[in-house]
Amino acid sequence: MDESHGTGRAGPDGGAAPDAVRSGWPLYEVFLRGKRGLNHVHVGSLHAADAQMALHHARDLYTRRNEGVSIWVVASRDITASSPDEKDPFFAPSGDKVYRHPTFYEIPDDVPHM
């Protein structure tokens, strides 16, 4: 098992099970920018011998119909993800801070442009 797989799983979707190492080609996560002005968005994963090959495969696999103008690939094992077990405490800091939202503040209706 690859040492970098701390929990035996890595990647945002929990892919890259230890056996993927045995098959020789690591798993890469693929992110696409659909068009200018948009963020890259995760679309899936694929196996490739190296990052260059992952880029080529990502083009063939995820952009056969002009779905992207830019591709990122990243080895799944290099992604650090929050885990569901620590979900509640991990996201707790933002849970009780309603004052961060504009709707928290009462402003009279007749104040313009607010």
Partner: protein, 319 residues
């Protein structure tokens, strides 16, 4: 930071997520049986896409025009792509790609039995697009709402592409039906051969489908096999009329009371035989997949060697 949740708490969270119609995501806790069922379903679906390249791939070198050839290549390439999206989804559940491939080529996991029928003429390419992909769309559109997030997302992508598959098939058939009597006969013959196997694609009748109830409770399945089969028949009959072909079922008739078409009994003995490996092309399909895997070994090895060499050079350059 890590807190270990109690099992009841975990399964409660899973149940509540399903109740709210939310998606299960890969790192969520899920029952072992849910994971196993999901892996089996996605893997079988992925295998079907991969094996499904063969019946039509058979005609690429004999396409009647450059236009048809380009379309057919694009379609077969899509099938490969669909297989890859689905393998990727299965891997999020902890399945291993090499293991899945191994299970397919050793016959330990199945694929859709429709691909065990031969393609005897170019009209088959059209009929596969119209009927087989049409049935697949019926099956797959509800799966875009599957409870498992990565599968549902793969299905959205696949369904968009399947629409091209069905339309190119129907257009091909329309073209042939405007041609010679011999061409019209080819379309009718292909329809005769693929109609019943297409109905079998929805799986056994509901009273013989023991897993349906659990799969529906888990949001893995949204409609029963018989519901989807009926929907497919109702959609397809008017398309056949427009095309000018006869569906090979004397029992097919409009039932005004139900507002749906009645249709004849499917030969489930044939379905069972094909699933068990005794269809016309089972052995050929697996042999072809095995040889493709074996013939590709040197390419995989060369790519790995190239990657290793490039990595060595990069680390030497950096040092």
């Amino acid at each position: 930071m890590t807190t270990v949740s109690a099992p009841e708490e975990l399964s409660g969270h899973f149940d509540r997520t399903l109740e709210r119609g939310r998606r299960i995501e890969p790192r969520d806790w899920m029952p072992d049986a849910y994971r196993a069922t999901m892996i089996r379903q996605i893997a079988q679906h992925a295998h079907s896409e991969i094996i499904g390249m063969q019946p039509e791939g058979n005609w690429i070198t004999r396409a009647p025009s450059l236009r048809r050839k380009a379309i057919l290549i694009a379609k077969v390439q899509d099938e490969a792509g669909h297989g890859m999206y689905l393998y990727s989804a299965a891997e999020t559940l902890g399945a291993d790609r090499a293991d899945l491939t191994g299970k397919l080529i050793s016959g330990r996991q199945k694929y859709s039995s429709i691909f065990n029928y031969p393609t005897l003429s170019y009209a088959d390419v059209g009929v596969i697009g119209w009927l087989v992909d049409g049935a697949a769309i019926c099956n797959q559109v509800p799966l875009c709402r599957s409870s498992y997030g990565p599968y549902a997302r793969a299905m959205v992508r696949i369904c968009k592409e399947e629409s091209f598959h069905q339309r190119q098939g129907y257009e091909l058939l329309l073209t042939m039906m405007r041609g010679t009597a011999a061409q019209r006969a080819m379309v009718q013959d292909a329809t005769n051969r693929f109609w019943w196997p297409s109905l079998m694609m929805f799986g056994p009748p509901d009273d013989q489908s023991p897993n349906t109830a659990q799969s529906m409770a888990w949001g893995i399945k949204r409609h029963t096999n018989d519901e989807l089969r009926q929907r497919f028949v109702d959609m397809t009959v008017p398309q056949a009329e427009k095309l000018g072909v006869t569906l090979p079922d004397p029992g097919l008739s409009w039932n005004a009371e139900r507002g749906r078409y009645d249709f004849g009994a499917v030969d489930w003995a044939e379905f069972t035989a094909v699933v068990k490996g005794n269809g016309p092309c089972n052995a050929q399909r697996i042999a072809r997949r095995q040889s493709a895997h074996a013939d590709g070994a040197w390419v995989r090895e060369a790519a790995s060697a190239h990657a290793a060499k490039a990595a060595r050079r990069a680390s030497v350059g950096a040092a």
